[in-house]
């Protein structure tokens, strides 16, 4: 087991390094390095100054050398300055990460609480009217463009009904604390979380339904029923526990989908999370910020995937990774 974890860990690190180079290379293809931008705001600068500055900051070096310098600094914890916000990248990242964590945790909880019970009930009565409706909802959730759902929610709940704010993270300048601050944050979280969770709820419903059907078809379920166990015990202890195994993988593998969704949702709702930061910094050519936010978010997703593999092995003793 530990050998397996070690191998997967190593693999994750290799993928991360490769990706960081791809991202670095792509970003360097964007028009305009810092000196070019400096020149455009200061037309008196001569060509000699430009070459001197470029060699001073190492921008005349080949891409591989520049990448190596970046990687060295990054691994030592020097993330550099943000070009847009004029502050060290570290100071920016932590609060943004926390905001995204709140959003995705809420969305994940909602998706689990809606998708799994509905899926289990549908799976217990396949072919019933309830199953039909639940299936329809699951397809709806999978096919809904989350950004459009976000816009619809804004139109209905923010513009027409004026119940909830249309976007943002918290009431600016309110300086709330304790319970009030919590309620305030929650008000800003509800709409983005709904638009983020719909896809996942649909996916979980589908998987919960099919794995429940499969689990209930096992021989030991028939045995449990024949022993005269209560329906509750048969369904939840014998059936659901076995249906849970594939579900664990599906849920932990949804980290990447949730993060992709968070980028869109945070952009729609102007929610100050790391997803919006990734998008804004890549589009705005904020080099250091883009690299760091990109790397951290991808590292998080890959770690979740690694966790999924380990959890899977722990949940199902039949799986061995030797």
């Amino acid at each position: 087991m530990s050998a397996f974890i070690l191998r997967r860990l190593l693999q994750t690190v290799v993928v991360l390094i490769l990706l960081s180079f791809v991202c670095y290379y792509m970003m360097s293809l964007m028009p305009g390095d810092p000196i070019d931008i400096m020149v455009s705001s200061n037309p008196k600068m001569t060509a000699e100054d430009v070459t001197r500055l470029k060699s001073l900051y190492g921008l005349d070096q080949p891409i591989t050398v520049r990448y190596w310098h970046w990687l060295r600094d990054f691994s030592q914890g020097d993330f550099g300055y943000s070009r847009t916000y004029r502050i060290p990248v570290q100071e920016m990242i932590a609060p943004r990460l926390l905001n995204t964590l709140y959003l995705s945790a809420l969305a994940l909880t909602m998706a689990l609480m809606i998708g799994i019970p509905l899926g289990v009930i549908a799976g217990l009565n396949p072919g019933s009217r309830f199953d039909y409706v639940a299936n329809f909802f699951s397809y709806g959730g999978i096919s809904l463009p989350s950004f459009w759902l976000g816009i619809l929610l804004i139109i209905v709940f923010a513009v027409k009904l004026e119940w909830l704010p249309a976007g943002g993270t918290e009431t600016i300048g309110a300086n709330l604390s304790g319970w009030d601050a919590f309620v305030d944050r929650l008000k800003y979280l509800i709409l983005p979380a709904i638009s983020l969770m719909t896809l996942q709820a649909g996916v979980y419903l589908r998987f919960a339904r099919s794995s429940m059907i499969e689990a209930m078809g096992n021989d030991f379920i028939r045995t449990a029923k024949a022993k005269g166990l209560s329906r509750f015990r048969v369904v939840w202890v014998h059936g659901f526990r076995n249906a849970l195994i594939p579900l664990i993988t599906v849920v932990s593998l949804s980290a990447s989908a949730i993060f992709s969704g968070a980028i869109i949702t945070e952009t729609v709702f102007a929610y100050q999370g790391v997803g919006k930061l990734v998008f804004d910094s890549i589009v705005g050519n904020d080099f250091n910020m883009a690299m760091v936010s990109f790397m951290i978010s991808i590292a998080m997703v890959l770690t979740m995937n690694l966790l999924a593999d380990i959890l899977y092995a722990l949940a199902d003793p039949r799986i061995s990774y030797s």
Binding site: F147, W148, S260, V278
Partner: protein, 397 residues
């Protein structure tokens, strides 16, 4: 002799595939939602294909803007201001002297106006200046090529916008229909192209095994586990023709559609690759392949008559589901402003500034998204129906 017979049997395999097709069709038809989705998609594709025809019938197009008619609600009729009407008539009449004199002749013959000896165009314009509600009818009664062309100019004075107009005064219905072409086209193209890449990678890995398999599948698996959107944003934000290899492929320049298709294909071939590899690995070990091999079938025969039919069906399902996904990704990227560039309409970029206009015209934010939703759900239902239809375990007799 045995060998030849077995080959003959194999040559008759396509007929078996046909009966399988019949089974699949009979199964598919029983899946009501899938059938409904299928016909809805056919309808949408027909509408997209006949976009120019619809444009001629409604007298609208996707491009012409009008500052005076922004944010019109659905079902609006718009009359052009008199001064613009005059201008349109003048450009029409003075465009060709021949046409003007022919028109004048006909008008004089019908005793609608008199020739005063000035330029024919001026005489016609004098007649048109006096126009009233009866004028189109009079032109209609002339029934000549010239008068009908003039009538067409008249028809342009009154426009009917079934779904209203957008922030530049363009007809929303026509933009949605042309957007269907773009979005559906991108979806189909991406799904087919990524299936092709997937088949290539999957069959290479499945056939050769060994280190080729190990390397290709490692790449496939790591790409599957990546969060796709940030990567797509990186690739979409950069001009791809600056990349050494892709630059030559994209020699056409910065065509945003081609670029979007490439970016989407880059991140959506993995499912198909895994599917094909898995099928090949499992089919390769089946008894009927062993039997065919024992009867002396060549590798190419085994591939053509055993492996391809067994891979094709699940691949078809994957492609169908892939179209829906690609449409969603296209819409998301275009919504973020990184996909298809305006003025080319696509469902995603029609929503691009939907947020700024939800107070003036919320319907503009609703309609394109509704189309995306309907299309994607239809593709998902059709894919699900196909899946059921080809799965031998679920065949209901």
């Amino acid at each position: 002799m045995n060998n030849a017979e077995s080959l003959q049997q194999q040559a008759s395999a396509p007929q078996q595939a046909l009966t399988m097709g019949q089974i699949i069709r009979a199964q598919f038809v029983q899946h009501r939602m899938a059938l409904a989705g299928f016909w809805l998609l056919v309808l949408l594709i027909l509408a997209a294909l006949s976009a120019p025809l619809i444009g001629t019938v409604t007298g609208n197009d996707a491009e012409s803007q009008s500052v005076f008619n922004r944010y019109l609600p659905p079902m609006s009729r718009v009359a052009m201001p008199r001064s613009q009407q005059d201008q349109a008539l003048e450009t029409f009449v003075t465009a060709s002297e021949q046409r003007a004199s022919a028109l004048l002749e006909q008008l004089v013959a019908a005793q609608l106006t008199r020739a005063t000896g000035q330029l024919p165009a001026d005489d016609v314009l004098d007649f048109l200046d006096r126009r009233d509600a009866a004028t189109p009818g009079q032109l209609q009664s002339l029934a000549s090529a010239e008068s009908l062309a003039l009538l067409a100019v008249y028809a342009g004075f009154n426009k009917f916008h079934l779904l209203g107009t957008d922030e530049l005064g363009r007809d929303v219905l026509m933009r949605l229909i042309y957007g269907t072409r773009v979005s559906m086209g991108v979806g189909l193209l991406v799904a087919l192209a990524s299936a092709l890449v997937g088949v290539l990678v999957g069959s290479l890995a499945g056939f050769y095994g060994g280190w080729i398999d190990a390397v290709l599948m490692r790449i496939t698996d790591s790409m599957l586990s990546l969060p796709i959107l940030p990567l797509m944003i990186v690739f979409a934000a950069v001009e791809l023709d600056k990349l050494p290899l892709l630059g030559t492929v994209l020699a056409g320049g910065n065509d945003s559609i081609a670029k979007l298709v490439i970016v989407l294909v880059m991140f959506s071939w993995m499912q198909a690759a895994r599917l094909v590899r898995g099928s090949i690995l499992s089919i390769r070990e089946r008894e009927f392949v062993l039997a065919a091999r024992a009867l002396g079938a060549k590798d190419s025969t085994i591939i053509a008559s055993h492996i391809i039919p067994n891979v094709a069906a699940p691949l078809l399902v994957a492609v169908t589901l892939g179209v829906g996904n690609s449409i969603l990704w296209e819409a998301a990227l275009s919504f973020l402003g990184l996909g298809i560039n305006p003025p080319t309409p696509s469902w995603g970029n029609m929503l691009n500034n939907a947020q700024e206009i939800i107070h003036e015209a919320p319907q503009l934010a609703v309609m394109p998204g509704l189309l995306i939703f309907i299309t994607v759900i239809c593709f998902n239902f059709v894919g699900d129906g196909l899946q059921d239809a080809i799965d031998p375990k679920s065949i209901r007799r």
